[in-house]
């Protein structure tokens, strides 16, 4: 998981010819986590080059970069949470629906009147609490109800969006909480608050996954749940915590979407589950669990949103974009497998 892995893997083969050593060193670095990110950086740089070549200054412009980042922020926060769940050996198909439900619940007339009477943060707390609640239910069903994650979250996908439709009566709910809108519309030193939130979530996510007991246990639970259990980790409790964490991320994303659209709606967040899973997987997190990288996920999100931006700048259709996205996923995963195999030998 660090430079040491690479050197350790290279060291035992004594005295290869110079060219071989260089090649080995290269594959060794590529095989390490840092190397996987190098691959993603290269991909992102290539995409940006395409953007600059095809759209010139329109692409390489501060405003355009901020546009990309704002677009990346909402799905990025969900993807960071998704990285935890997938690293812990799970999957969550309900994130889009949870975003919708949180956005609706946080913008009901009741919530808004509380927000206006007390403080606008009531709206934020409602969204986070609803997200966390959905996460607890997901995690509880999976860990204690022993329902396969795919099925449990599929059920949540249907139920949460349905509940969002009932709560909102399928109408778009408009936010009239001035304090809320003012706060999230602002920029700090030219950087929009939404982007700052994404950056903070990503950094906190990285620290938690790589530097805390919780993160280490996530790797253990995802890598081998039985071994983790026999090592004394409370796997079920940890599973619930993972889904709750993702639920909170969905709540944050809902707040961001409310701020961006000044609305809550049962149609928010459609297909976010697929976008998030795709970003996590091309980032290098193993879908079967046990290996995960927040940095990779962030690159994954940026690659997809930059792609979308380049297509928009060139007036290309969403359909062509979907085809390109599919191709990127396949290439990224194939490449990943290749590198993983080299890493083993």
């Amino acid at each position: 998981m660090s430079e040491n892995t690479a050197t350790a893997a290279v060291a035992p083969t004594s005295g290869p010819p110079d060219g071989g050593r260089a090649r080995r060193a290269v594959t060794g670095i590529l095989g390490s986590a840092a190397g996987r990110n190098t691959g993603l950086v290269v991909a992102l740089v290539l995409l940006c080059l395409v953007g600059v070549i095809t759209a010139g200054d329109r692409f390489a412009d501060v405003d355009n970069l901020l546009t990309i980042l704002r677009l990346a922020s909402v799905i990025g926060v969900v993807s960071v949470g998704m990285t935890f769940v997938i690293t812990g050996g799970g999957i969550d198909l309900s994130v889009g629906a949870i975003v919708a439900l949180s956005s609706v619940w946080a913008t009901t007339l009741a919530t808004q009147s509380v927000a206006n009477d007390a403080h606008w943060s009531a709206l934020v707390f409602t969204a986070l609490a609803v997200g966390a609640g959905c996460g607890v239910i997901n995690g509880g069903l999976i860990a204690y109800g022993r329902i396969v994650a795919f099925i449990a979250t599929l059920a949540m996908l249907a139920a949460a969006r349905g509940l969002a439709e009932i709560l909102s009566n399928r109408k778009t709910q408009i936010v009239n909480v001035p304090g809320f809108t003012a706060f999230f519309d602002a920029s700090v030193l030219g950087v929009p608050v939404l982007v700052i939130i994404f950056v903070v979530v990503a950094i906190v996510g990285w620290v938690v996954l790589n530097r805390t007991t919780f993160g280490r246990r996530t790797f253990a639970v995802g890598g081998n749940p039985e071994a983790a259990r026999l090592a004394g980790i409370d796997v079920r409790r940890h599973t619930v915590l993972l889904y709750t964490l993702l639920g909170v991320c969905c709540g944050i994303a809902a707040v961001m979407l409310i701020a961006r659209t000044t609305t809550g709606s049962s149609t928010h967040g459609v297909l976010y589950e697929l976008d998030a899973i795709a970003a996590v997987v091309i980032g290098g997190t193993l879908l079967s669990g046990g290996r995960g990288t927040i940095a990779g996920t962030v690159f994954g999100v940026l690659i997809f949103t930059t792609l979308s931006n380049v297509f928009t700048l060139n007036n290309l259709s969403i359909s062509a974009q979907a085809v390109a996205k599919g191709a990127i996923i396949v290439v990224a995963v194939l490449l990943q497998q290749r590198l993983a195999r080299r890493g083993d030998t």
Partner: protein
């Protein structure tokens, strides 16, 4: 029963090596048509590997197989079946959800233009079941709903459906009760009367005497005796053949146990329904207690229950006089209990993760401040331990997967060393560990005991149990049938007890 002339199958000088281990080091024997040929050997003697070689699941590295005098080589189980060799494994491999008939013809369904001729499948299945003396098994029943005994019959029908001439049965009686065993023997006798040969693997002397014609004994991957008459040979001789020492493991010497050492682990009346019952066990600080028994005797389950990984139906576990919450691994670990599980790879290790992470996984809070880990400190401690245990190759950032079995086991041990646990439960500590590393692990276990840890060792290797332990418990069919100091019992007596025989 035996006929002269060319043997149906002859095995000559078969060698099979796995990385770091030679599983078969030269096996020779013949199987004649119409005989029941028993294979005998301790766990780890190479029986399972041999079965897989015969059934085409492994290719031998050296040696040859001859089928009716012709040299044959099997690339895969289908090849073997086509020739007429079929194995019936202990873990029955029927597909639950498919009917009996579908299971019997799975993979070679009689079909016209892709459509299975269902009537023919059923008719031929019925005929096969009749031939096996079990016309009572409905061909349309879901195979998953049959009893273990009937599933075995269906597996045999499957072998015969491919015109099997040689059936290999791996401890078929392990999952059967007495009546079912009797029925199985009747079926085997009928088959052999029809000229089918059976290679029969079992630990149970009385079964070998009853059904077997000839016996081949394996030890450490080699044939040590072959063609012995099953009914005449003395049990004592067989046991001596199985255990006779070609390879010595150096068991560390031990200090006499301090009789005043405090009792650390107390187990009273522990039971798990259907697995074991009435288990009492006390272990003092510095004591090593061995549990001897066959696979399936309940010995591993006892360890799991003590550790809280399996919820007991009755009984209590106390560590240092404090009762543990039932069925809670967390409680056991907090009280200072550690377990090195039987299936090291699937239960013990995070294979793709670094050595140091595997070592610290049970002790994370000790390296954390407010939840933040000091991975530098983790690596330092892990490095100290791996150096002390001589884990090779060194390097705590290397993935555990890249280590050999013995070094992987050392990593698991290091985890509990780091935790400074009071009670260490070891399930098959040397399985898959090569000879050289075994001595080191024995040394380590002894070391731990001398530091005051209470150790419980489970092993199928009787020699290992006796060599390591101060005290030995023998488990058979979920009950402790013997308890006493290790010096007062010898290997053949233990073997006799675990197999339930009455050899002198």
């Amino acid at each position: 029963m035996t006929s002269s002339g060319t043997p149906l199958l002859s095995v000559r000088g078969v060698v099979k090596r796995f990385p770091g281990v030679t599983a078969l080091g030269g096996v020779d024997f013949d199987v004649r048509a119409g005989e029941v040929h028993c294979l005998l050997g301790q766990n780890g003697a190479g029986k399972s590997t041999l079965i897989k070689v015969l059934a085409g699941a492994h290719r031998p590295d050296e040696g040859e197989l001859r089928w009716q005098g012709e040299v044959v080589s099997f690339d895969n189980p289908t090849d073997a079946m086509r020739t007429g060799v079929a194995a019936i494994y202990q873990e029955l491999d029927l597909v639950a959800g498919l009917s009996v008939a579908d299971n019997v013809f799975l993979g070679h369904e009689p079909a016209t233009a892709g459509f299975t001729r269902r009537a023919e499948v059923r008719r031929r299945t019925r005929a096969l079941l009749e031939r096996l003396g079990h016309p009572d098994i409905p061909a349309d029943r879901d195979a998953g709903r049959l009893s273990a005994a009937n599933q075995q019959i269906v597996s045999m029908a499957r072998a015969l459906s491919r015109d099997g001439r040689l059936l290999i049965m791996d401890e078929p009686s392990a999952v059967l009760d007495q009546d079912e065993v009797r029925t199985l023997f009747r079926v085997i006798r009928e088959l052999t009367a029809q000229g089918v040969a059976v290679v029969y693997i079992s630990h149970r002397m009385e079964e070998i005497r009853e059904i077997g014609d000839r016996v081949t004994v394996l030890k450490d991957g080699r044939t040590v005796a072959t063609g012995l008459p099953a009914r005449e040979v003395r049990t004592a001789d067989l046991i001596k053949l199985m255990t006779g020492r070609d390879l010595e493991y150096a068991f560390p010497g031990r200090e006499p146990l301090d009789p005043t050492a405090p009792v650390v682990l107390t187990v009273r009346g522990l039971a798990a329904s259907g697995r074991f019952s009435g288990v009492d066990l006390t272990v003092r600080a510095g004591e090593v207690v061995g549990l001897a028994g066959l696979v399936g005797s309940g010995r591993s389950e006892i360890l799991e229950a003590v550790y809280g990984a399996r919820k007991p139906s009755a009984g209590t576990v106390e560590v240092d006089g404090k009762r543990l919450r039932r069925g809670s691994v967390g409680a056991a670990v907090r009280a200072g209990v550690g377990l090195c599980p039987e299936e090291r790879k699937s239960q013990g290790l995070l294979l793709d993760q670094a050595v140091y992470r595997n070592i610290t996984v049970s002790t994370l809070p000790a390296f954390a401040r407010f939840g933040f880990l000091d991975s530098g400190a983790e690596r330092v401690r892990a490095r100290e331990l791996t150096t002390a245990l001589d884990v090779r190759p060194p390097g705590v950032d290397r993935a555990v997967r890249t280590l050999s079995g013995g070094n992987q086991q050392k990593v698991v041990l290091a985890r509990w060393l780091l935790r400074e646990c009071r009670v260490l439960l070891l399930d098959e500590p040397t399985r898959g560990v090569d000879v050289g590393a075994r001595s080191e692990i024995y040394e380590l276990i002894r070391d731990l005991a001398e530091r005051g840890v209470a150790v419980v060792v489970v092993s199928s290797d009787v020699e290992e149990v006796l060599g390591l332990s101060d005290r030995v418990l023998v488990v058979r069919e979920g009950r402790v049938v013997h308890e006493g100091p290790a010096q007062e019992i010898d290997e053949s007596r233990v073997l006799d007890l675990v197999m339930g025989g009455t050899a002198a």
